[in-house]
């Protein structure tokens, strides 16, 4: 079922200078690229698509990724050509887009218990960076020179990288024995240098940080800010709001919680919400209602950090998120959380692997014990499902971090459990040989990294 590269189907070399209105010294001589006909193009990408697992293929329980169904109608809403305007439009001529931005800001603020929201960050990690830069600006504005961000060991890698990108030193907080933040360790870790604690709640094994009020007090007492990583917000919808827990700043992963499509890795969007005190530091421009009846306007926050995206972020994603939230409403959002948690707990009950820690919410980290979690995962592919995230977080040995989301029904979860159990119980030989019912067999990752060939040009002569 191999599909040739487009370049292997035929390329064409164009003499650029022949028809160029530019002088030769400003142009390249020639350009060589594939030149398929439209039917060939259609077949190429149709075949490629058929070699790709997706939510619409079946269960996709990647822990911490919240792979849920992307309602089709949100695509139609986002395809509205009236919304397809240039970001440099004047305020008065862009009232529609400003209104939708404002509406989305408002509902996100409500859902997170925040006071102000920016839609500019184009992804979750960009949201993290925005939030940390806001915190940094806040501290600097108040004359505080703080150099550290505290992050639990179990946190997403992005938290660490974000803190470093913002110029902070990372203080890694070891997990407590119960998988949660250890208050004593936290007390020890925070101090005058602490700019912020970044926390995911429920954390990356699905545990709610029960001591969140104490955590907030410890951080705040040290003069730090509390950052909420929104990756797992799906578990809390309608049941708890970061703002109510003492968080000062947070990001939302709308491609997780609000079901915008993941697009093979993006685009997502990472709006950032903050409490009033931090609002003056948000990226510019923000959108607000103008004086009575005159619509919406952009404005620059007094102490803005500037910008985190060249324009207004991933606009099409914002539209889809708004449509999804509007479709579910209060009860639907709360039910999504309930069913996500129900599904995780049911699935954990049905699999033969041990699940340390609990009670977990929307995801759990099973352990493959003395099996290699990556091998078990490859074998699961043969049983017609996508496996969970493997070997992370490290606090669970041979972890299989599983998040079925609310969209799976009982029979689908049973199928998933069966795939888990069959793979887990299979022979070493079978695991080594897996997968063998997929478009490609087990792929040599080490070879790929050792001898990087990153373009068809690099394959020339092969």
């Amino acid at each position: 079922v191999r599909e040739p590269l487009l370049s292997e189907k035929g390329q064409e070399t164009v003499d650029v200078r022949e028809e160029s209105p530019l002088p030769d010294d400003l142009t390249r001589e020639e350009l060589t690229l594939p030149n398929p006909s439209e039917p060939e193009t259609a077949r190429h990408y149709t075949r490629l698509s058929q070699m790709n697992w997706a939510i619409d293929s079946g269960p996709y329980p990647l822990g911490s990724c919240t792979m849920k169904y992307n309602p089709k109608f949100t695509e139609d809403v986002a395809a509205d050509t009236n919304a397809a305007i240039h970001p440099d439009r004047s305020e008065r001529s862009a009232q529609g887009n400003l209104e939708l931005q404002h509406r989305l800001q408002e509902v996100l603020a409500e859902i997170g218990g925040m006071d102000a929201v920016t839609l500019q960050p184009p992804a979750g990690a960009a949201g993290e960076l925005t939030g940390i830069l806001v915190a940094k600006a806040y501290h600097e504005h108040h004359g505080n020179d703080r150099s550290e961000v505290v992050i639990p060991a179990s946190a997403h890698g992005t938290n660490f990288a974000t803190a470093a990108t913002a110029g902070y030193d990372v203080v890694e907080l070891p997990s407590g024995e119960d998988g949660r933040v250890d208050l004593e360790a936290l007390e020890a870790a925070v101090g005058d240098d602490t700019a912020a604690l970044m926390l995911t709640n429920p954390n990356t094994v699905g545990l709610f940080e029960r001591d969140i009020t104490e955590i907030a007090d410890i951080v705040h007492d040290a003069g730090g800010l509390l950052y909420y990583d929104g990756a797992n917000l799906n578990a809390l919808l309608g049941r708890g709001r970061p703002g109510d827990m003492g968080f000062d700043v947070m990001h939302y992963n709308v491609h997780k919680t609000f079901a915008t499509p993941h697009g093979g890795g993006g685009p997502g969007a990472g709006p950032v919400g903050v409490v009033d005190e931090l609002a003056p530091f948000l990226p510019t421009p923000r959108v607000r209602e103008a004086d009575e009846g005159s619509g919406y306007e952009r404005f620059e926050p007094d102490h803005t950090i500037g910008k985190v995206h060249g324009f207004a972020g991933n606009w099409l994603v914002s539209i889809k998120a708004y449509a999804y939230i509007a479709r579910l409403g209060d009860e639907g959002l709360a039910d999504a959380a309930a069913k996500a948690v129900l599904n995780a707990n049911y699935l954990a009950e049905r699999i033969d692997l041990d699940v340390p820690f609990g009670p977990f919410h929307h995801e759990f980290a099973a352990t493959a014990g003395d099996r290699d979690a990556a091998d078990v995962a490859k074998r699961m592919l043969d049983f017609g499902v996508h496996p969970p995230t493997t070997k992370w977080p490290e606090m669970v040995p041979e972890a299989m971090l599983t998040e079925p989301t609310e969209i799976e029904g009982q029979s689908s979860l049973d199928d998933l459990a069966e795939a888990f159990n069959l793979a887990y119980a299979d022979t070493d030989e079978a695991l080594d040989a897996a997968p063998n019912r997929t478009a490609a067999g087990r792929i040599d990752q080490v070879g790929a990294a050792r001898n990087p060939r990153l373009s068809w040009q690099a394959l020339d002569g092969e």
């Binding site: 209105p21 698509s49 009020t213």
Partner: protein, 442 residues
């Protein structure tokens, strides 16, 4: 069924929910939540659930509140006609609803598409390596600065950028530089392109990176890129070139002028005008392979010895290397890259070159028509232009822009007496109208 008040996207009937709760051994869903009373939420958001149709109507009404203007806007965000086949193929659910290719054996389709996208950028830039997307041109530039910090930090901490640079792009760059303790400084421009002599004067050991754009934010094609490259090289600064995927199809190859890194915008292919949503290019030479930010797709083999694709060199990335990663980027713009690749395939090299050549010709033609009007002079800079150009007007630019808006046209007001006009295949048929409107309002 009894899903009426729940999410319409969960399949559970009441019976099924009850059976599942029984299997778990709890009485109701509430019992599954371990949230202390003090921080639990029992209010409501005040969001009424609407029907699918209701939301489509509501959003259509909202978007209809945007004025129906013919846009001659550019400055970093460009719309070209996107062939229908791009939507139809990119919208296939296997692409759109998939995620990062953590299990390459069931993700060969997207991996190959991204590999092909990378290859297209390798051809367009002449560099060895292109990643499979950054958020947009501005963040790609920011990432280039952090790369400079990592690979050129011994040289200094100054990032030199052109005086004429989109403000928003510079603001993003500043945020990346802030964390890396880099300082952004501008170098002057002469008639729309880099003042290379002034740049030579400024060059020195404290410079970690020199950034130039071609086309510039005002649409000027930079004429002395090789000289800039030489300057950067002499002082061991990273030479980062900003460009655009369409322009790259005809402009001299970045590799040929000594660029170490190419950043810029590729969303001008595949994406319609989208309120600034973009697709960041990041390409560089092999030398920096282990320092590249973002995801890379590589070719490998599967157990049957067949060629297969996989994400590779992941030890650069945040989920493995954490605070020592080359970037914090995780979710990227993969689907937009797919769209750009499909658009490029649909055009073929000749179609792409035609589009680029038209971008030069149309800009030139429109500028000269505007130049004939009294009260306006265009192009302001005596350079070759790509898609767009500045216009000097006698009256205040803001007022003229507002008047043009009244006539149904949007242009940029970029300075007291400077407008900027961008022409692509989308609005090239409307230039008569724009010229007439100019005549009306000047």
């Amino acid at each position: 069924m009894s899903r009426a008040n729940g999410t319409p996207y969960a399949p559970h009937t009441d019976d099924e929910t009850a059976a599942m709760l029984a299997e778990i051994g709890v009485d109701d869903e509430e019992a599954l939540f371990d949230i202390p009373e003090a921080v639990s939420f029992d209010g409501d958001f005040g969001i009424d659930a609407r029907t699918e149709r209701g939301i489509r109507d509501e959003c259509a009404r909202i978007f209809a509140r945007n004025d129906d203007l013919t846009e001659f806007l550019g400055r970093g965000h460009y719309g070209h006609y996107v062939p229908s086949v791009v939507d139809h193929l990119a919208d296939r659910a296997e692409f759109l609803t998939s995620y990062t290719q953590y299990q390459p054996e069931v993700s060969q389709g997207f991996l190959q598409a991204l590999f092909e996208y990378q290859s297209m950028l390798v051809e367009l830039t002449g560099l060895d390596v292109a990643n499979c997307s950054m958020y947009d041109a501005a963040t790609a530039l920011g990432e280039a600065a952090t790369l400079a910090d990592r690979v050129r930090s011994t040289s200094g901490d100054t990032v030199l950028v052109p005086e004429q640079l989109r403000e928003g792009k510079r603001a993003v760059l500043e945020n990346y530089c802030d964390g890396a303790d880099l300082a952004v400084e501008t170098y002057p421009m002469a008639d729309g392109t880099a003042d290379v002599d002034a740049l030579a004067d400024r060059a020195g050991d404290d410079v970690a990176m020199v950034y130039a754009e071609s086309p510039t934010v005002r649409g000027c094609i930079e004429e002395r890129l090789a000289a800039i490259g030489d300057l950067a090289d002499e002082t061991d600064a990273l030479f980062v070139l900003g460009s655009d995927v369409v322009a790259l199809s005809v402009l001299e190859s970045p590799a040929a002028v000594g660029a170490d890194v190419v950043v810029g915008e590729a969303g001008s292919l595949g994406l319609p005008t989208a309120y600034g949503m973009g697709l960041g290019i990041f390409a560089c030479s092999d030398e920096f392979l282990r320092q590249v930010p973002g995801r890379l797709v590589g070719a490998s083999e599967d157990a049957n010895g067949d060629r297969a694709y996989t994400l590779t060199l992941q030890t650069r990335e945040q989920h493995i290397r954490k605070e020592r990663a080359t970037s914090n980027i995780c979710t990227n713009q993969a689907w937009v890259a797919l769209r750009a690749a499909i658009h490029a395939a649909t055009l073929g090299p000749d179609g792409l070159v035609d589009l680029a050549n038209d971008s030069v010709r149309e800009a030139e033609a429109l500028a000269s028509r505007i130049d004939e009007l009294s009260g306006a002079a265009a192009p302001v800079h005596d350079r070759h232009h790509f898609r767009e150009f500045a216009v000097r007007v006698d009256q205040p630019a803001e007022a003229i822009a507002a008047d043009l808006e009244g006539e149904g046209f949007a242009v940029h007001a970029i300075d007291d007496h400077l407008l900027q006009v961008c022409v692509t295949d989308l609005n090239a048929g409307e230039t008569d109208g724009l010229v007439a409107a100019f005549e009306e309002v000047l």
